[in-house]
Subunit: 208 residues, 2 copies
DNA sequence: CTACTTGTTGCAGTGACTGCAAGTTGCGTA
DNA sequence: TACGCAACTTGCAGTCACTGCAACAAGTAG
């Protein structure tokens, strides 16, 4: 149970962060024990030591407590993509940006693993995570189309490329979870990008 | 408003099919008018001329009335994949199966387009659709891993390949919707597969 | 026409989620 | 240190998604 450092924060900020963390921990533990549908928001709140109403001050949905979203993060990644040199091939630009920024740095890896394990077992949560990934996917596709000067709403090439890249991200997270975190996420992510870059046709033929 | 042929069906079967169709049509129209969150299950039922309770006899969730799932379909596609010759490269096998079986044949294309347009505008529905696609994705990844004799729960290669293939499917549907159905879905789908097969790296460099 | 099966409906109940109107608590200021 | 503002927590009442159950209606097979 690692508590990451956060200096220069007020008492208020610390309390909020603690409550938020307590809620996601409670949610993760309860869902691991009983399964997502059997866990009520009320129970999560009580285990975390706050009122049921407060739960919804922190998370808009039960799913949010487990998946966790961060609009800033999307903006950060898209900005990084925009700052890449225009001459760089899109796949390389995406790779550079995502390998650096996709692995969360502000979360304890052990807890992230716990949450991923729960996620993998609960279809409902997986769908919710897909929604979050799709936010990023759309934003990236838009940025990429603009970069190439094509109408973002009708650019199947960019859409496909970005979707494949996000697939690399998703599968890397899952594979990382499969190794129980023993192999660093960055390396797995890099390997998935290698597979993509080498061309799926070629890779698919080999038996690994 | 095309009503497809269905012969040899009993009165019961016809009524059920009609009610189901009325419900999805009502749902599509209402959501197009007011947006998904503003539409209640009750209103959908009333517009379709059935009681609110009956709505939930047909669909487990509000989303289902718009996205529509079909477990048989997943099984059908996976079976088709299993019947492919083992020597065939995975990407080609997937392509052959999906180009033939992914475009729905039992739905009026105009209504499908309506639903896709609504889908594209509503994040919540998009997420639900992602869940449905993920069902298929998981099943295909499993079949592919088994075919190659690898543990299905830890085969990032297969997971990535299938995810990319499903991305081709998803983006093809969206691009088809973007052309208002003027270009046949099969052709767009085939083109997305061409992009995949040619290797993303190469394609991404070109400017279309 | 009768017995059986299948589908519809209303009702009551649970739980997710929201807006509102109090309280509490941290924090800058006099 | 006491005051007042702003932010956070809480309870309450309400809406809506969704479910199980039991009565009822309608199609079906003999």
């Amino acid at each position: 149970m690692v508590v990451l450092e956060h200096d220069g924060e007020s008492v208020r900020e610390r309390k909020k962060r603690e409550t938020r963390l307590a809620l996601t921990r409670a949610a993760t533990a309860l869902v691991a024990e009983r399964g997502f549908p059997a866990v009520t928001a009320e129970r999560i709140a009580l285990r975390a030591g706050v009122s049921p109403r407060t739960f919804f001050n922190y998370f808009a949905t039960k799913e949010d407590a487990l998946v966790g979203h961060d609009p800033q993060r999307v903006a950060q990644i898209v900005d990084a993509l925009r700052r890449r040199p225009p001459s760089e091939p899109p796949l390389e630009a995406l790779r550079a940006v995502l390998v650096e920024l996709l692995p969360p740095s502000d979360v304890d890896p052990a807890e992230l693993l716990d949450r991923l394990r729960v996620l993998r077992a609960e279809p409902q949560l997986l769908a919710y995570q897909a929604l979050r990934f799709e936010d990023l996917e759309r934003a990236l596709a838009r940025a990429l189309s603009e970069r190439r000067g094509i109408d973002p709403d009708n650019d199947p090439h960019a859409a496909l490329l970005v979707a494949c890249v996000m697939a690399a991200g998703r599968t890397a997270f899952m594979a990382w979870c499969g190794t129980d975190g023993r192999e660093p996420l960055e390396r797995i992510l890099a390997r998935q990008f290698d597979v993509l870059a080498a061309g799926l046709a070629a890779t698919a033929r080999s038996t690994t």
